[in-house]
Every structure is written in C-alpha cells, then in structure tokens.
Symmetry: D2
Subunit: 353 residues, 4 copies
C-alpha cells in the first residue's frame, strides 16, 4: 500500500501508478477526504517498498500482505486441521503434535563422561532429545568457547560422543551450528541443527543449514520482532525445508535498574506465533531466565501458554560447569519440572476434549 501526502499532485499519483505497473501489479487508487491511498493488486513481495517510499509525493509505502507466505497458516490451509497438524519429525519423535517434547542436556559438552552421565539423567527425568553445545557463542573472548574451538579433531570427537550418547540412551541429538563452515561436519552426526539467537539474521547460515534437509531448531534473536523472526524463518522454507522448529528464548529487558532475569521471556509470542504459522514453537527457559531458581516456573508458564516443548540446560553439578552454570538445573530438578509440565499439559488438553 502506498499512502500519499495530503498535498500530492495528480501527476505524482499517476507516476506512482505507472511505477507499480512496471512490477506487474495493478494499482487501486482510493481518494480519501484528506489524502490518496494506492492499493496494490498482485504479488506484493515483488515490490521494493523502500524504492516506492522515495518517489515524489509518497508519505509511506508498506507491505499489506504477509512477508512469510511459505510458513503462514493463512496461506497453507492444508495444515490447519486439528486432525492432521503439521509436525516436525526427528526419528520417531513428533514435534508439534499432541505431546510436549523436552530437549535437555548440558550447555557445553566438557567430556565424554560428563555427557553420558547427564544423558542418562535427563533420559530418566523424561527428556526426549539430548542437547549438548560444542561450538559456543560467548560474550567474552577469554571464556570457554566449547570443545569445537580447540580444533577440528576435538570437534569431531565431541560430536561422536553426542551421537553415541543419543544412540545409547535412545534420544535424537541436537547441537548448535555457529557458522556455515560447521554445517557439513555437524550434520553428519546430529538429528537436528540448532541456529542460535545471535545467528538469527545470518542468511548464509540459514540457507546452508536448510539444504541439509535436517530439522532446524531456530531461535529468535533477543532484539527481533515476531514479524521479523518469521520473515527470516522464510529463508529456510524458501530452500524447500519446512522442518523448522521455532524457539523463543527471551528478548531484551526494558527500563533502568536490575531486571532479575537475564532476558524477558515473551510467553505471549507462543500463541501469537501459532496464529501466524503452522510451524511448532518451543521455549528455552534457561537462557531467558539466566538463573536456575526460575526455570521451574518459567517452564510451567511455557507449557501452559501452549509451547510444543522446552529446551532446558541440565548438569549433575551446575556449580562445576564450565559454561552457564548459573542457569542449569540438575536431572532431579528436570524431573520435577517435566512432571509439573505434564500435569499442566493435561489441564489444558482437558479443555479441548
């Protein structure tokens, strides 16, 4: 839609209409009491709105249509039915189906023994998928960057532990890829690729990861609006890969003074995103909270809001962990959390029946 200035001339209006036609769309001119608005009839994704905003007499130019048609619920009615919801499959697991899925494991893999011990713990606690970080994005140059930072051999070794632990405890496995160059290697070993919040805008990584055809757990950036998040998820879908699991992990806090959570968990994003897209939406309470004593409550809230699953960092001894110890919980605490979430899930499901 093109909104003209109140004093736009007829020539300016005509010029805009001509310009619209160049892109193969039809213009629908509506002369209001104060100003003229020009609607676009056709595929708006072909229109460079930035360019139109620069034409003489134009006040504002904006897309009315959905910028993420491939993943939108409105344009993909086939996935709207209760009977046949859209699910992402990882092995035998269905993500986005009737039951919440719990992904758990250490923030960073430190050793084979550490990983196996945690894997066993989370399996017993009710987790379905095993996570473990190998390439860690860190704020400080001096922090532990994950075993992947030590070299390709160390990366492969850690990946093989993750694969083995998944096989041993019968869970699909997931790890984060932080750059294009890690995609080929990592996808040899894992069932799901994770793209972290800081890489949300990395279109090269999105394209590369999409082309593995593996399911992708895709996290929202802490400074991204929902529309923007979905528009970037469209990059993955545009490569023909719709096995996308969206994940909210907290946005930037507002205001002065302490906020007491590392980020703000945008729990309303879960039902809001579910209205917009058929893709499943998860929550990562660990990064949102940044402190372990809030994980239980924030997990409960996430499942109550309708999240299709949780991504939780777990360590048998959080105080010993090399990375993010403050936000990890123990396997026992995970069990307590999963149990409560399951009761909550039943409480909500009850409504549907």
């Amino acid at each position: 839609m093109i909104i003209m200035n109140a004093d736009a001339t007829s020539e300016q209006i005509t010029d805009v209409v001509k310009e619209i036609r160049k892109y193969g769309l039809r213009a629908d001119v509506s002369r209001g009491a104060y100003r003229t608005v020009i609607g676009l009839v056709g595929d708006e994704t072909r229109i460079p709105f930035d360019h139109f905003a620069t034409l003489p007499g134009v006040k504002e130019a904006m897309m009315v249509d959905t910028p993420y048609k491939l993943i939108s619920r409105e344009y993909n009615k086939q996935y709207n039915t209760e009977e046949q919801p859209f699910v992402v499959k990882a092995g035998n697991l269905k993500i986005g189906g009737d039951e919440p899925v719990y992904i758990a494991g250490p923030c960073a893999i430190e050793s084979k023994e550490q990983l196996f011990r945690i894997a066993e713990g989370v399996k017993k606690a009710g987790a379905h998928i095993l996570r473990g970080g190998i390439f860690k994005p860190r704020t400080s140059v001096h922090s532990f960057q994950g075993l992947g930072a030590r070299g390709p051999e160390e990366a492969k070794e850690a990946l093989s532990w993750l694969r083995d632990a998944g096989n041993r405890f019968e869970m699909p496995v997931i790890t984060e890829v932080r750059g294009e160059n890690q995609v080929d290697l990592v996808s040899e070993y894992v069932d799901i690729l994770q793209i972290g919040a800081r890489n949300m805008y990395d279109q090269d990584l999105l394209v590369k990861a999409a082309n593995t055809n593996k399911p992708i757990l895709y996290k929202r950036h802490f400074g991204a609006g929902i529309e923007e998040f979905l528009s970037f998820a469209e990059y993955i879908a545009a490569e023909g890969n719709k096995n996308i699991i969206l994940c909210e992990r907290g946005i930037l806090p507002v205001g002065k003074g302490r906020s007491y959570t590392r980020y703000v968990l945008d729990v309303g994003a879960v039902p809001a995103i579910q209205k917009e897209t058929y893709l499943p939406v998860m929550i990562d309470p660990s990064h949102a909270a940044g402190r372990r004593d809030l994980i239980f409550s924030m997990s409960c809230a996430a499942v109550a809001a309708g999240a299709c699953g949780l991504l939780i960092e777990v360590h048998y001894n959080p105080s010993e962990a090399l990375v993010d110890g403050s936000q990890m919980i123990t396997p026992d605490e995970l069990k307590d959390t999963v149990d409560a979430c399951q009761r909550i899930h039943q409480a909500i499901k009850f409504r549907k029946n």
Copy 2:
C-alpha cells in the same frame, strides 16, 4: 560501593573516604590489582550516589543494598514462612494466599445496566472481585475517556453503580485513580484502588493513595525495570500502607515489524518478583495481549508461573464496547479461562504437597 579509576591518587581515595564519613557511614577500602574499590558500611540509602559519582577519581558509584527494604523479602523474614504468608485482604478475600484471585469486569463502565449484566456474568464465571473503569487513560484526545470525564456528578453516579453491583453480587470492587484529585472521591466507594501503568512514577498519587489505607493494585509501567518498579512501590509502603498488590501488564516490545501482541507479558517477572518481595503479584493479560484470542493462553501461563491472580477485562458483547473491545472476552470465555487456570493451579500445588 565506590569504584575508583585505575589511576586514582591516594588523595582522591582519602577524599572519598572522608566524604562517606560525613554521611555517618564507614568506608572499607579494598586495593585491587588494578583499581581500588571502597565499600560502604552502614545505611546506604542515606548516600547520594549521584554526588559521589562526581568526585575526582571516581569511576562508578552504586548502591549494593536493596533500595526497597520495606517490601523486600530479605529484610522481612517474618513473612517468609510457608505457614503464614503475607496476604492483602479485601473484605473476606485474601490476595496472595493459597488460591488465585480473579478480578474481572468491563474496561469502562458505560451504563448501570451494562455493568450489572457484566457483574452477574463474571460472578457466575468464577470471578472474586469486580472491576470497572471510570477514569480512563487514553492515547487519543478524541476517544471515550470514561464517564468520569463527563464531570463530578457522572463520576459519582458511576462509582455508586460499581458499589451497588459489588454489593449485589457479593464482590469487592476496584477502579483506577488517574490523579491525586480522584483519590478521596473514589476511596469512598471502592475496596481497592488501582494505580495504572502510566501513573507508576506519579509519587504524589502514590502517597495520596497510600494514605487511604485501602489495598492498592499497583501496575508496572511498560518501560520500567523490575528494580525500579519495586523502588516506587516503596513509596506506598513508606506511608505505612503495605496492602500492595503488584501487577505486571506487559512491557514495550522490541525489534522491527509487527509484534502481534500489544505489549510483551514479562511472565518471568512473577517468580523473579516473588523472590524479591513478600507482596503478592498479579498479571493483567488483557492489556499485555491487546487481543482477545490470546487471553486464554496468557492467563494459563500467568497462573502456571505462580501469579496470585488475574485481572481480566470482560464484556458480554466486546464488539459493542466503547473502549478496548479488541481485548475483552465474554463471561463464557472467562469461565473457560478460570476453569483452566484452576486446573493448572492444582497441577502446580500438587508439587508442593
């Protein structure tokens, strides 16, 4: 705590220490490898940190202690027991006790008939407290500002309807006061005073309202950090009124593009605030969502996170409402919401037992 520059001189350090003593505190000088840090021993609330930040050689000056001691959990151990939690009483109702409390009613009172019809509806749906707006804060000068804007007689009449509806359907009643001048009048009629998000910083209103000794439902500003919110709640407590119900109603969204909820519900603020203060914390999902189709999910999330209650806008015909129709639900939808929230509350309570 005063952090000195790496190149601060001994004289500068000595001067800061002297200045601290002027305020009756003791200084504890710690010379680090790179810089000196000066701890303050005594009541830090007496220290003007802004002033200390201006002294020569000072890099940073900040309060280590809690700026909201009167309402902090840490400094009021008497309220920390499971057996005797702190509750705010409105009539026979206990807010902050074992059971969630549901406050419901129209955004704005439009007529006696409208109010009574809604009051009857919300009572049947399970609400405990009746709300109804008389003085409405609105963004546009041309919108309906509530019956209170029509003059003192209209305000009184609307207040008396609210009182009568409360009596008739046996619910305490609450309405918002938007300025100091409304406090005396409103407190004659209602059981709880509401201070809205836009007035969070209005210290004159806080003091005036506190002195009625009525319970105060106090909403967080959409641009305020949690520490700031609690620091302003301290204004109320400092007047000797601890009957404060804190309420999270959504903060500013981040990022470009559409966010699909009017505000971001900071659900993690519920458990985070509960760690900091003994005061009860509620959630207002209506303003956070700004759209009725998300109220159910966001209410469930709020109760799952441990909120002591909900504040929900209800209308028998939202499309007819003069204000905020887009975010109001019907009494039937309220019943559905309350029922689910009660099931969720049981699911969480189960853990404690």
Copy 3:
C-alpha cells in the same frame, strides 16, 4: 484502513462497510490478489480502530491519517513558510525562530542565594531563560524532593525567588509542574510551565496546564515513540493552546551491560519531528547524558541537528548540589558550550543563505 483476512467472506466485508458508514465515513473496497483492503473516506479520528479490529474477518485495522492534525505541518500550511515560521513567545523571546534559545539553571532550587548566584552565572554565560526545579520527580523515596515537597509556603517562597531572579537578571523563568494541583500556583509566578517526561501521559495535567495559556515545555517520555509523543501533545493543542515547545531528553537504552549514558539522546528525533510538526523542538542534554563530561558534545550535536534550543542544568559547584550533581555543569562550562553552539549554528545557517 481495514485489512481483511485472505479468507474473509463477502458477508464479512459487507458488514465492515456497513459499520464504517455508521460513523459517517465512506468505504472504499479494494480487492487484491490475495486479500481485500478497505479504505476509509472521511475523518478517521472518529473511527474506533480497536473496535474494528474485533469484527469477524478483520486482520488489521489502522489509522492512515495523522493522529495529530492540530499540530501537524501537513495540515497547517500557514506555518510552513520560511518567512513566517511558527514561534512560541516568552516575553520578548522567540523560541523556534532564527536563533537558538538556551534555558539554564539549577536542577533543584536549594536557597535564594544559590539560585541568584547561578542565575547571574548563566546570564553571563549567554542563557536566555532561567530554570529551577521546585517540585522534583525522584526515583527514591528517601531523596531530596525539592523545596515544594516541604509544604505550600516553602513552594511559594521558592517560586517567588525564581520570579525575582528572573526579573533581576532579565530572563523569563520556567519550572516543572508535576501534578494538576500545582498548576494554578506555579502559573502565577513563571512564564513557561514544564511538563516532565514522567508526566508525558498525564492527560489531566496536560489539559490543566494548557488552559493557563502559558507556553508549555513538553518533554518526551523515555519509553514513548515519536508518533505517540505528538499524539499526546495534541491534548494541549486541543485546548486551544499551541504555545508548545517539544523537548527530547533521552530514551531508554537497549542491550546488556553498561551504556555509559543515562539515556539515549535521540538526536534524529529533532529533524524527524520538524518534518511532522511546526512546533519548535528543543533538547535537554543534561538528563540524556546523566554525566557532566558529555554535555558539551551532546549540546553541540543537538544544535547541529537543528534543535531550536537547549535546556541545561547548571550549578556553580555541582559536587555540592542536592540533586543530580553528576549531570550539572558550571557557568564557565555553560559559556564554553553556548559559544560552541553559536559557532555551529552559524555553520549551519550558512547553508541556508
């Protein structure tokens, strides 16, 4: 404009059109390739868009027109001329004319002697208007709240000092009103009323202040978008008072970690607001910076961006000040700042000639 869902039925479209007519506007239906968009022909300010957003089949409802017509440049061509720009007058001073106007004085008035000494200093330094706080909005309940907090007599006394200092040093005077109840008293003494950032949304205060017909220096809230700021300024204009000086004083910072300025000075807001409204726009670098060593640079930036003036806090000995010492500069530093700003103003003016 009403944007319909892609699957909206003809009946739904017809119903929306009927509803639009109820409000006296005409509907212009544009059927696109994917969805229908309905334009509104007439005065959009009469439309409750919230209500329309709730109608069946509606995806989005939004105002296309300017929500602040009274103060908009587009709707008030008479003020668009270079020859006869819109200016706000305070005594003989013109704000918004050819020359920048400097408002300076202490954050809080502490004594008659303090005020007169500072007044003399700022006059010599080149200031045109004298400021001094009497009713101070403060974050902490224990801080100095200004002499106005001590009682009505103390408030009157401080106001009379301000008046006297203005007369003595031939400068119009300005102080902040923090609530409706202070307006009558304050407007007896001062030439310009200031409405602070925290009160930006206080419509009762806006209306009350507007009706004094005094010029009003109106500050943007630190969490307010520009459109929202201008929409609230419309409250003042709607009372028939267009003597409004807009003032940007910094918005909330983003991101994690220290930001090193108290707020973020939105310097681009100056030219952006000037395109939207004919009202003059000032900058308050003191509150934006929160530290005195950045005032010079931020003042220069403000004038270079085209601000019609500055509001700067000054104290002969900032370290002694009871409030905001960290952000006040000395009269000598003010002179240095004003001199540089005047050179910059010439540098820009040069372009116009």
Copy 4:
C-alpha cells in the same frame, strides 16, 4: 565483586573465598552493616562470574574491572596524549586524527558504470574513502542480495571494479564481509573490511577478519549496549589487530507507534565511547535515518558530537537504486553535507585551540 545475601553464613563466605583463591586471586572481605561484599584482588577476567553467582549465599557476582582492557583508554595511557593520538591508517589516510574522514558510495554495487559514476561524484564532493556493497544482508529472502550472491565469479568481478574505482579516483576502498568464507577473497581487493551490525556477535568472523591485519570498520549491533560492543571489539584486538574503527549506526527505537527514523542514532555514544577507548568512532547516518531527508542534519550532529568520520550511502539517482534507495543521497547533497560538517568541525576545533 561478590555480594552476599544478608543472611549468608560464615561458612558460605569462607567457601566463596576459597573458590576465589582457586583462580589465583585474592579475596578482600568487607562486612557491611547489612551484608558482606567480597572484593577480588587480581585479574578478574579469569573469574567465571556465572559460576560464582551459583554458589550458596551469593546474591550477585559481577566484574568490577573493564572487560575490554586491550582497547581501553584507561589501560593504554600511551594513546592518551593529544600530541600522539591513536589513528588507524588506510593508505595515506589517517582515521581518528585531526580531520574527519568521509566514506561514501552506493549501498550496493550494481554495475561497473554505476560504481564509477558514483565514485567520481563522491570524490568531487569531498569523500576520502569509497564504499560499495557486494554481499548485502537483507531482511527479505526475495530482495536483491548484492552481486556477491550470484556466485564467486560475479563477486570477484564486483570486487575488481571496486579496486579499480578506488585506484582511478585515489581513494582507499571498503566493503562488507558477511561471513568467514568471504574474508580471504575480499581482503585481496579492499583496504578496509567492514563488519556489519548484524554480524557484531559473530566471533568467528571477527577472528578471521582480524587476522588479515587489515583495518576493520566494526559496527555496533542495533540491540547491543556500549559495554557489550566494546567487549566484542576486544575479540579483534585479542588477535593482535588494533586497526579497529568503531561505528555507531543506530539502535532499536522504543515505544508504540511510528518512530519516523529507521533506527535511533545514539549520538551520545560517540563521546561516551571516546572516554572508554582510544579507538576512533564513526557514525553511519544513512542506516540510522533510513530516509534521505534526515541525512544532512544527522551528519551535522555526528561531527558536532566529535565523530571521526561518516559513512554515507550515495547514488546519482536514488530512486533507481536496487537497495536502500530511500536512504541514499546524491553526490551534490553529499557535497552540501561534507561542507557543513567541515564548518562544524572548525567550530568545535576552535575550542581546543
């Protein structure tokens, strides 16, 4: 610094002290009136504060020291002198010296002819360095992604045009690298590598780019605090490359409604960053504004604030540009802008002499 809970036990305090010693630091225990604070004596960058925050009895754990020592002014006194300021050299050009440096060119290179025509224009207008985008980060998957997206040969060809244009018009050249894989290729052709805002957190890219030893123009992410920005710049310096030019390009706007600039130019970040680091700081007004009619004012503000240069997008016919036409200015407008900025620079320089 470790802040203990008010009720921390002696054992807990002792345990924290022991833990500190494990990392080779000394603990300085300060028992306050209400709580104990433990200072750290030694190199705080070796301390995992996250881990300490999880120890029993700990309320808060934070670094007091600067997390970016390599680039901090405080720790590198050798660059603090007026006589010998730190400058980044590109060919014969000094960035961060006495005179502002203007970088200009098209947002995206479209053809050799387009680039040469613009290069000639910006040179005449007073630019010192030529920019041109080859790998473009874009929000929509359907937009023009730059010639680099068409394949390696097209990328090389565009890079060689850039090199040739730089040689022909005697300007060093700069282009953005969007990922690790582009670094080797790009650094063969250009004098300065640009790392864009969306890649600010991409530590792999930072390390790779740093190792070229080329100067790096490093942009602040729109959601990053200043401390965070500088902490990530430390990644580059840690590789031994201090040829870093910091660049502010706008942060996320706050509030509801339209903001009228694409981002908020944090002009106060210029002097604030200059106090913290000796590295030069530039401003990119084009991306901050997002609209060409504000570039002049925002450029003036930037230079007035003390920026060491500007990065401006230029096109001889912005309406024809494939990318970001709305924010590009013409060579003539650039000349007007540079001329005004130079006059402003003189106006400020005058003060120093």
